[in-house]
Amino acid sequence: MSDVLTGIEQPADEEAARGAPRGSGAVRFLLGKLGSALLSLALVVVLGFLLFRMIPGDPVVTMTRGRPVSPEQLAELRERLGVDKPMWQQFVDYIGGLLRGDLGTSYLFQRPVADLLTERLGPTLLLVGTATLLAIVLGLWFGIRSAWRRNSRFDKVSTGTALTLWSMPQFWLGLLLLIAFAGVFPSGGMRYSDTPPDVFSQTLDVAYHLVLPCLTLTAAVYAQYLLVMRSSLLEEMNAEYLTTARAKGLRDDLVRRRHAVPNALLPTVTLVFLQFGMVLNGAVAVETVYSWPGLGLLTYEALSGPDLPVLQGAFLVLAAAVILMNVLADLLYRVLDPRVRAT
């Protein structure tokens, strides 16, 4: 088929294809999504390797900083790190290590990167999870009300607030809150050293430390969700099935709850998941400001070095998290939207 006809195309529209998977749809869909996620993951892995090997500087020097080291020790260290091997060999070792869950050893902490990452994952999940949940609740609630009463005072105030919060660098908001609440809330960290070890006290302690970081992260994220929810509900506002619902004699809030919101929720929910990367960006900034011992802070700490294995590990984990969220978004969309779920 060398002579391509001008303008001749298969009418296969990818968007439309979403709507009508046929045959053994569910399995096929799932496999397709997983496949593309795995492909993305593979690309991330390769990029992670290349990117962090382009960084100038001898890792061995970073590792031995501040210590008198003999040339023999340096050579031995090089061999242990594998930085003296050819690139392809390093790549093979890297892949092999990944498969075994070995992400190398941190230059700065002198500990396995995988351990560091697992240790820091919990706090980040706690922060990001709490903030996202809060943001979803607030964002959707305000978004729905703003759209439903478009151009009302409520809409203007809440949309205006959201826009302003959205326009703020999160780290700056963090700094401001830090100054404003100095003394009322702790200025950083995740728990006090002298909190009694019982579960109740520890939980309260962590919750107390969580307030400011969570507030900061929530502020920007909720604003985003609000704007998305508002505009997708506005898009549904003129839908004919709403007229049908009204004609049936439904109360206004029922029209909204039963008909408008479930439809408007679809794009919003997808966006909530797809915007997860943005939340993680926020987490890096917020964790840095509040010294929240999570992955974001680890990334920041690894920057001053730079601690390449840690940076690379954090990069992989964060990217994998976003990919996972994308898969979840697709699955959830399928659950929520019967049009996609078609058998």
């Binding site: 006809l5 298969q10 004919e240 099935y241 049908t244 004609a247 439809n263 929520l336 939207d337 078609a342």
Partner: protein
């Protein structure tokens, strides 16, 4: 029983001096002006009119469903109670229980994420105080009963709207409308988006149900024949006013108002010699040549097959072994239901779609495959699309739209002259007046003329017109069809007109080809095929044409 209210003598709906205005940016646009209307219980009334005449606004005002920008004056009395004066709670109680609505596009009027059952049960649970949600069996029973009434299996209750066909969706809408046993149903263009055959079925169903349940019906349509087949009376609306109201038969036979006449003429009766080669037009048509020269057909297909690969690897054959000819100076109508493969055939003829096997021959030469060859070919065969509004780039002026073809083909010599000629050939005169206009400043008919002019600017030999009048108002329809006839005489243009409308074929075509599931089931002269159909499918197509009371028998006697 014509002018009297229903059998029990009660007035179901009365509109008194009803006016509706929409607040626009600067001024108010009147949509309905001082309409008076009465409808007795069990009566059926058709409301006819072209788009923008205010008929939908009128219907929506009955249940106060107009957008906030609407200002309503006058009274709407539903069972003697003024809807405008109702408290909010009372209005909600009246909605659906007293009057329900069958909306225009069932596809959009059903909530896409809720099951059919939920949507039908919703008003039942809402309005019948004895049907509480804790009595699901009763509700379920009622829903199944309703589905049964609209001839849908009970299993469809668990379906989502997208899993239903267009006709099924419209049936669900009807079932939903009947859910609370209303005394009035307002049906707003209930069959417009449907296929001819399905349309006939739905109309029949509605007529039956309305009669059985003694329901008052207001049906809105632009198609007089649809109304005539369902309603006792027809009211014609024009520019916000009711210009004529008469029993259906009378209105179809002898319309009084000029606008009613135009509407009536738009849907010719097949077999009526008066409308053969005579679409409704204000300019008289020249005599059509009775004998067509026979010779090498301009455009011919041989065993043409086109298929698509659907998702999941399945192959769908849209065109299956089609042999079709369009002769010199001939108009051929290709008729069939939607999904029969007509449009795919048209696209293949233009080289916009690759054929799987078979050939397309233009004056005996196969369709070229090279880029430049195809471009040259397209100077000869041109396309006119269904919806002129979307067929014109909203950013391009008329001049740019018409000059687009010549520019692509490098015909820069005397561009203005070429554009002027094309516009005038498409009866946009004087051409200068239109050149700088943007599409949105033109009426639907004018836009379609611009599209035709754009094709004519290349001076083609054949025009492939895909449903050229389907989206146009009835009064414009005739004008465009007349234009095609005139072009044939003046420019010797051949045409392949793709349509679902058999009346259109009767209006202008020399020959007709009936397409069914990718195959041509019957080809012949218009008279032969339409008046003496051989194939089962052609017969069902003809039977589905809503002929109302005025439908002529396909009798041999008409062929004098």
């Amino acid at each position: 029983m014509t002018e009297n209210p229903g059998t029990d003598g009660a007035v179901l709906l009365e509109l008194r001096e009803l006016s509706v205005r929409y607040r626009a940016a600067r001024d108010e646009l009147p949509a309905v002006r001082g309409v008076n209307l009465r409808l007795g219980a069990g009566e059926t009334l058709g409301l006819a009119g072209e788009s923008g005449c205010g008929k939908s606004t009128l219907a929506m005002s009955v249940l106060r469903l107009l957008p906030r920008s609407a200002r309503v004056d006058g009274q709407v009395l539903l069972d003697g109670e003024d809807v405008a004066a109702m408290r909010w709670g009372r209005l909600r109680a009246v909605r659906w229980a007293s009057a329900s609505v069958v909306f225009q596009g069932a596809m959009h009027a059903l909530n896409p994420v809720r099951k059919v059952y939920d949507q039908i049960a919703e008003p039942i649970l809402l309005h019948d105080s004895d049907q509480r949600p804790d009595e699901p069996p009763a509700v379920r029973h009622r829903v199944h009963e309703l589905l049964d009434q609209v001839e849908l299996p009970a299993g469809k209750a668990e379906a989502f709207p997208h899993e239903l066909s267009g006709g099924q969706k419209q049936r669900v809408m009807i079932a939903m409308a009947l859910a609370c046993d209303p005394r009035l149903v307002i049906a707003d263009e209930p069959t417009t988006a449907l296929d001819v055959i399905v349309q006939a079925q739905v109309l029949e169903l509605m007529s039956r149900l309305v009669a059985e349940h003694h329901i008052g019906l207001i049906m809105i349509s632009h198609d007089l024949s649809v109304l005539a087949s369902t309603c006792q009376h027809i009211a014609v609306m024009y520019d916000g006013e009711i210009v004529e109201r008469a029993p259906s038969e009378q209105l179809m036979r002898a319309p009084q108002h000029a606008h009613s006449k135009a509407l009536a003429a738009a849907f010719p009766t097949i077999g009526d010699p008066a409308s053969r080669f005579a679409p409704a037009t204000s300019n008289p048509l020249p005599e059509q040549p009775s004998e067509r020269p026979v010779g090498e057909p301009v455009l011919r297909t041989e065993e043409l097959r086109v298929s698509f690969r659907a998702r999941g690897g399945r192959t769908v054959r849209a065109v299956d072994g089609v042999d079709l000819e369009v002769g010199e100076n001939e108009i051929v109508a290709l008729v069939g239901q939607s999904g029969s493969g007509k449009t795919t055939l048209a696209r293949t003829l233009l080289g916009l779609q690759r054929a799987e096997s078979g050939r397309v021959l233009f004056r005996g030469t196969p369709l070229p495959t090279s880029t430049s060859g195809l471009r040259d070919y397209r100077r000869q065969v041109q396309l006119v699309l269904q919806d002129p509004t979307s067929a014109l780039n909203p950013r391009h002026s008329v001049y740019e739209a018409v000059a687009e073809g010549p520019r692509i083909h490098g015909l820069t010599t005397d561009e203005i002259g070429r554009v002027t000629r094309a516009l005038e050939a498409a009866e946009l005169r004087p051409a200068e007046r239109f050149m700088s206009a943007l599409p949105h400043e033109l009426s639907g008919g004018q836009k379609q003329r611009v599209v035709i002019a754009g094709a004519l600017a290349l001076e083609p030999a054949v025009l492939v017109a895909d449903e050229p009048v389907a989206s146009l108002d009835a009064s414009v329809r005739g004008e465009i069809l007349a234009l095609l006839l005139r072009l044939r005489i003046e420019l010797g243009l051949s045409a392949l007109v793709i349509t679902h409308d058999l009346g259109l074929a009767w209006n202008i075509a020399d020959r007709v080809a009936v397409m069914y599931r990718g195959e041509l089931v019957e080809v012949g002269t218009v008279e032969d095929v339409l008046l003496d159909p051989r194939h089962e499918y052609t017969r069902s197509l003809l039977a589905a044409v809503p002929g109302g009371t005025h439908r002529a028998e396909p009798a041999n006697g008409l062929r004098h």
